[in-house]
């Protein structure tokens, strides 16, 4: 099954200069329970194989035995760092399949909250990526900002991490009273803090030497593998689901898409930082133009999409997260398939790592921004 055979006998160990190093599933920086089997020559990676499935919970199978409205909280547990975005892809797929008219206010609130979630997810990425490369302080600074967002989530949804944010047809309830104030306060403080992180990292010689030219992947290769999100845009491919197939209220928003040049770790770092700034821009715009009205569409007693299949995808923080839904006209889906961005992005790991050192493997796992809950499902 694995391409890298683990050399266990004394003979093989002594005969070759190569060494097989087993990283994970218990390892501080494989971002969860990823197991990477590295074949090393000294410290240079010559081959690598990923072993996944340690967090497999059978989400897609579970979904076949649940009503449509009951599936949304399961989707929060896919990419638990970006639960709000994951929930959105599920409810939007069902809504669009049924042709439900979601009120504009719900669309706008969804835009604000998913963008907040994108910032939270990118902040956690920045924190752990910097930690992997050894800058411990950035971890706590980034978590401080993330905390502000989680507080907003807690007041809005009642939960910080797995929010169960949306319902089919809209939102469980309208924005809380101080929502506008809280989000504005966050949006005002955020750029200053982001500049602070940049002073610690962007111009730092050590940070540059650890990220420039590491894990390079060209645009053509990235498309061939199927990368999406910042990992794809870091290689200079202009592709953002928010722009190409606008969902929620993104069609009304004015924002730019940052694109890298070289497709290395440093470019992906810059792209994600700029995405956070653009997210803030979207949040402020949506807050300015937030329409009044209900936040819920009128739903039938039982949610039953028509017979057929439907694919819908949104731009999650990690990349394009999609949902393919086959309905047989009953109250439970016939088959659900998630298009997991982390899973697809992880496939680039070998190509990016071979020829680099062990320390770079850690940096590259960090730059791909994977979440094992979503990879294993």
């Amino acid at each position: 099954m694995h391409q890298v055979e683990i050399a266990t006998t004394q003979e093989t160990l002594l005969d070759s200069p190569e060494m097989v190093l087993n990283m994970g599933p218990q390892h501080p920086s494989t971002h969860g329970v990823l197991r990477v089997v590295l074949r090393l020559d000294g410290e240079t990676v010559i081959d690598l194989d990923c072993d996944i499935g340690y967090l497999h919970r059978g989400m897609e199978k579970i979904a076949e035995n649940r009503m449509y409205t009951m599936i949304a909280p399961y989707w929060d547990r896919l990419d638990y760092i970006a639960a709000v975005s994951n929930g959105l892809v599920w409810v939007e797929t069902v809504e669009q399949m049924m042709g439900l008219p979601v009120p504009p206010r719900a669309h706008y609130l969804r835009t604000i909250l998913t963008e907040l979630n994108r910032i939270a997810s990118h902040l956690l990425w920045l924190a752990t990526h910097a930690l992997d490369i050894g800058a411990v302080t950035v971890l706590l600074w980034a978590l401080r900002e993330r905390e502000e967002i989680l507080k907003i989530f807690e007041r809005q949804f009642g939960a910080r991490l797995t929010c169960h944010a949306w319902r089919v047809g809209g939102m469980p309830n309208d924005a809380y009273d101080d929502f506008d104030k809280d989000v504005r306060q966050f949006a005002n403080n955020f750029p200053k803090r982001l500049d602070e992180y940049e002073t610690v990292l962007s111009e730092n010689r050590i940070w540059l030497s650890r990220t420039v030219g590491i894990g390079v992947i060209s645009g053509t290769e990235a498309i061939a593998i199927g990368l999406s999100g910042p990992a794809l845009r870091g290689s200079g491919v202009p592709w953002d689901v928010r722009k190409s197939r606008p969902y929620a209220a993104y069609a009304d928003m004015d924002f730019d898409v940052p694109l890298g040049e070289n497709g290395d770790t440093y470019d992906r770092y810059l792209v994600r930082l700029e995405e956070m700034r653009q997210s803030r821009r979207i949040i402020v715009q949506a807050l300015e133009n937030l329409p009044d009205g209900p936040v819920n569409a009128k739903l039938p007693k039982v949610v039953k999409p028509p017979v057929g299949d439907y694919y819908h995808s949104i731009e999650g923080p990690k990349g394009e997260i999609g949902c393919y839904l086959v309905s047989d006209g009953t109250a439970q889906p016939y088959r659900v398939r998630v298009r997991p961005p982390s899973f697809v992005n992880l496939q680039a790991l070998k190509q990016m790592c071979v020829g680099h050192l062990v320390a770079d493997v850690v940096a590259i796992i960090g730059t791909l921004d994977i979440v094992l809950g979503e990879i294993d499902r």
């Binding site: 111009e203 053509t220 202009p238 190409s244 898409v257």
Partner: protein, 435 residues
Amino acid sequence: MLVLGPVNVLNDLLLRFFSQETINFFIWPLIQIGLVVTLVALWVAYATYLERKISAFIQARLGPMRVGPWGLLQPIADGLKLLVKEDFIPENADRWIFFFAPYIAVASAFIVFSVIPFGPDWAVIADVNIGLLLVLAVSSVGVLALILAGWSSNSKYALLGGLRSSAQMVSYEVAMGLALIGALMFARTLSLSGIIIAQGSDSIWYVLYQPAGFLLFLISGIAENNRAPFDLPEAESELVAGFHTEYSGMRWSLFFMAEYAAMVVVSAVAATVYLGGWYFPFVYRLELAGHHNLYVLVSLLVFLVKVSIILYIYFWLRWTLPRFRYDQLMDIGWKWLIPSALINIALSAIAIFLVQALNGWRGMRTIETLDRGLNLTASGKVIMIVIGFAGLFITAALLSRINWRSRDFNLKTQRRNIRLVNLPKGKPAVSASEV
């Protein structure tokens, strides 16, 4: 004298059982050793506390607050916890080597304290005339402990950590030794007390004559101690915990203590050689006024403050900078630090030659005496300091010229920033040809 009255009483008491010679050569050193080991162990424990506090302040949090007021008893609680923890030895480990490696580490770190001059007179255990050489030699024995620990653990992470540490410490030892030579040319002695006295009699700190040497020593000292940003042997995110991955309980904490003790040693040597050790202007007046023991105590305090300042730089760097990669670390050691140390030696020699040549030229006086190291007159000092700081720029310029072709030299200017594109809305997916 008031402060140390009990000392004389104790001496009288001991005289009943031993001869004065036995007391001077055996009993007093033993007491000194006991005191130094205890106090240094305590100091090391509280260095961890300070590190946690300082890192907390840098990271916008509070740090230990629960055990005692402001968490002051935290190191003691940690020590107790580690003492009662299971001392686990992996099944396939090389038991004896695994057993003894931490002791080698901690012993080599603590032995060095025997020659560190904490203060004048009785505040130093042994004033050896090859003190600095002894410091360098004994602290390199610490590498052995790391290699043995890494090898005997029978774990690949530990082995990689051990290999990294051996390569790293061996290469940085060279830079460290070479960086010190410049200062030794001024002091003309290897005795640590002698170096301080040379600075005192010249009324100067050698950091002014040797700014480049000081920086080089500090950087290679940090690398020698495996501290961030050079903490590759125990790089947490890559090698789990490096050479001490398999260690637990007290044995693990011995490595920890050895690391902090080695840090204190390097800070102490830096303070001694470059910041004048316990020497501070005007403190000597206490001795002249007849308060000998008070003079020693104040000098001791001065020394501790200087060491603490350098320790603070250690903490500060650790919690600010990312970690180097292994090959970059070797690059810095061999391509930057060792050449700059060599350039520094050459420049120091030229400076000393120049000052000696200028002495007597057109009635100029640059040298006062050569008895206690190189003692210069005011004009001599000015020349020396100017050459010293010019040396910083000369070294930097020469090395940039040598290294400007290397990939990592000026990464920021090598690249353009990302571009911002306002993509048209509703445009279908891109094809590969558009990239």
